[in-house]
Amino acid sequence: MSDVLKIVDLHVSIGDKEILRGVNLSMTEGETHALMGPNGSGKSTLGLAIMGHPNYNCTQGEILLNGENILELEPNERARAGIFMAFQRPVAIPGVKMADFLRHATTNVRNPERKEGEDLIPMREFRKEIKANMEQLQMDSEFARRYVNDGFSGGEMKRAEILQLAMLQPKFAILDETDSGLDADAVRLASQSINEIGHNKMGLLIITHHDKLLEHNPPNFTHVILGGRIVETGGKELAEELHAHGYDRIRKQYPEAAKVNDESEAEAEAVV
């Protein structure tokens, strides 16, 4: 039976500000979903809430993995259950080598029952695998020895996220603007790699403002989020429409949501 990730009436707050106001979404393994929406509409928030970020409080609703609510699980338990997110802005961890980090990560995700201190996957096996993946992503072998996201260029950072996706082989992956900050060649490489790693295999939730990534990974569904709610769902032609014409039609058609979105944007700017 295929794995299913289902989000039901999800409300998420940061502090006392409600960002997501009842999101519904259902994904089956092997499907690709595009999640689109203007800046500040709540795309990253949805991803981070699914991954279990401690600052994102789910005040209502459920996230179900094969029918089981995962809201009470820690991020590491969610990862071990097969959920992955490539972050829009990955954080640097000085002094921690990519290889060391990834070996722990890979071991844990592959042996979800592993306790701290138990054996890691054999060095040889790990090395072979990471090397192959790095070659495919055209990454220098030195890269494994660098510190996690520390001083990475925008492109390197995104590539490192894809490398993790390749190593961890999740059931569901949220890719949050994994194509941004890349030059044209790098976007093509990233798009092709994601296709090889996960398209038609994993459940992919692709958040993007560009068209290349979706051209290589045509979505079965496109969801438009505005003001913390999914206002419209369509096929891949909806993504094409938004790429070509922007969000004017959506804003006009859903004035309530547009208002919420604008207000929260203005608020965010005031804070800055």
């Binding site: 991954m51 279990g52 970020h53 401690p54 600052n55 820690e74 991020p75 590491n76 969610r78 990862a79 071990r80 992955f84 997110m85 972050f87 990955p90 954080v91 961890i93 000085p94 002094g95 921690v96 080598k97 290889a99 060391d100 980090f101 990834l102 070996r103 722990h104 990560a105 844990n108 995700v109 701290e116 201190g117 138990e118 054996d119 890691l120 060095m123 790990f126 090395r127 990471i130 090397k131 072998s141 030195e142 494994a144 020895r145 510190y147 996690v148 993790q164 961890l168």
Partner: protein
């Protein structure tokens, strides 16, 4: 091979109590508790010392008694009369581990010393309570005139050499604890490296306190002659008791022209040890002194390794890591004194506090008049793991010359929520993730250590991290 990846070190849970075990031994001689002239004389008698050393001790005792307790640093709640100052564990020092009494040999086996010796050391000294019970030095080194012995033996066998430097870098009157050590010192290492001799592998000393209420007062003197090089490593542990023990060492280092000395400490004292240590080096023309100081454990550590750059071109480098957990206070730091032109000093200090632990960085950077064109840089970073823990910085800077460059940076950070989340989102448990972040934080220092010690350091950090979780 450029694709080579680093092997991470994982700690098995069975190793957690690796250092906390007590050995049943029968001492050859144990002085009564307390300190006075009678005890000092008794120590001198047993060691059959020359008069000058007896006088040196008795004078130091007077200084100790006359000096007040330091008013800064940590809280010292010690009854000096409730401590054993001298315990001789065995009659003779072993030249082979087979000569060492079985129980004591077992102790060091458990601590992995003989194994390390076989694998990568040029020489070893093992001190149990007050005396060095085992010593070795590779033959090619002794053939080249290298001396690596315990300090008591040096008093007998190398009297002129020892007397020329003993107590000269750190006079008894330097501070109360230096005076105490000078009065009751026993054991420690004496090293002399002749001109031009470069020792490739480290010389290591291991200090073990076993008894409750014991005081350990080793005295180390290292002389690196012109153009010579040595790396000395010390490790220290003790089992856990309910009442306090005291470790108060004095370490003097003389680095002559063009010579180089690196002194690495990896201490992991039990939580009831007061660790009050004075360490100082004089570096002469173009000589380099490096202190690498890893402070884990103890109830209170007060330790500020110092480099006095005495002649032009001398360099001093101090790298220190302090880790304090529940009930612990690490008051650690460093001291650089530029006494001559064109001298260069660096301090890099990293501290980690967790579970209510307290770390303080206390450092002095001083440029004397005339030390023109000297450069001094101080960087101290503190990482605090939770709200119950604390970190303070006390930097003292004293510049008495115009033409110098002085840099000072300090940062305090909390373990990043975003960093934890990132690692956890990749399947690492919270404990695993924090350990990784902490190890990353000290990585710039750890990578300076030879492989074996880097591994040891990471293990110890992991032990400390696990201490809180379990």
């Amino acid at each position: 091979m450029s694709t080579e990846l680093t092997e991470s070190q994982e700690l098995k849970s069975t190793e957690i109590n690796k250092y906390d075990f007590k050995t049943e031994t029968t001492a050859v001689f144990k002085a009564r508790k307390g300190i006075d002239a009678e005890i000092v004389n008794q120590i001198s008698d047993i060691k059959n010392e020359p008069d000058w050393m007896r006088k040196f001790r008795l004078e130091a005792l007077e200084i100790f008694e006359s000096k007040p307790m330091p008013k800064w640093g940590g809280d010292i709640d010690l009854d000096f009369q409730d401590i054993f100052y001298y315990l001789k564990p065995t009659t003779d020092q072993g030249k082979s581990w087979d000569d060492v009494p079985e129980e004591i040999k077992d102790t060091f086996e458990k601590l992995g010393i003989p194994e390390a010796e076989r694998k990568y050391l040029a020489g070893v000294k093992a001190q149990f309570e007050s005396e060095v019970i085992y010593g070795s030095l590779k033959k090619d080194l002794s053939d080249q005139g290298v001396i690596f012995t315990d300090t008591d033996t040096a008093v007998r066998e190398h009297p002129e050499l020892l007397r020329e430097y003993f107590g000269k870098v750190i006079p008894s009157a330097d501070n109360k604890f230096a005076a105490l050590n000078s009065a009751v010192w026993s054991g420690g290492s004496f090293i002399y490296v002749p001109p031009g001799v470069s020792i490739e592998f480290p010389l290591q000393a291991y200090f073990r306190i076993n008894e409750e209420n014991m005081g350990q007062f080793e005295r180390t003197l290292i002389i690196v002659d012109e153009g010579a090089q040595v790396h000395y490593v010390e490790g220290c542990t003790a089992p856990m008791y309910t009442s306090e023990s005291l470790h108060s060492a004095v370490v003097e280092v003389v680095v002559k022209k063009n010579a180089r000395c690196r002194y690495t400490t990896i201490q992991n004292w039990a939580n009831n040890i007061y660790n009050l240590v004075t360490k100082r080096a004089f570096a002469y023309q173009d000589g380099t002194m490096e202190w690498v100081d890893g402070n884990l454990g103890s109830k209170l550590t007060m330790k500020y390794p110092a480099v006095y750059m005495m002649e032009p071109g001398a360099r001093g480098e101090i790298l220190s890591i302090a880790f304090s957990s529940k009930g612990q206070h690490q008051d650690a730091g460093a001291k650089l004194v530029h006494c001559a032109p064109d001298t260069t000093g660096t301090i890099i200090s990293k501290s980690i506090s967790k579970n209510g632990g307290r770390s303080s960085y206390r450092g002095l950077a001083k440029v004397e008049k005339g030390a023109v064109n000297s450069k001094c840089s101080v960087v101290c970073d503190a990482l605090i793991l939770d709200d119950a823990s604390r970190s303070d910085t006390y930097p003292y800077i004293e510049i008495n010359e115009q033409d110098v460059s002085m840099g000072h940076e300090a940062s305090v950070s909390r373990i990043g929520e975003e960093q934890l989340f990132y690692l956890m989102s990749r399947g690492l448990s919270e404990a695993e993730a924090s350990t990784m972040i902490v190890n990353g934080f000290i990585e710039p220092l750890v990578k300076e250590l030879p492989m074996e010690y880097a591994v040891e350091m990471n293990r110890l950090i992991q032990l400390q991290m696990e201490g809180s979780v379990g």
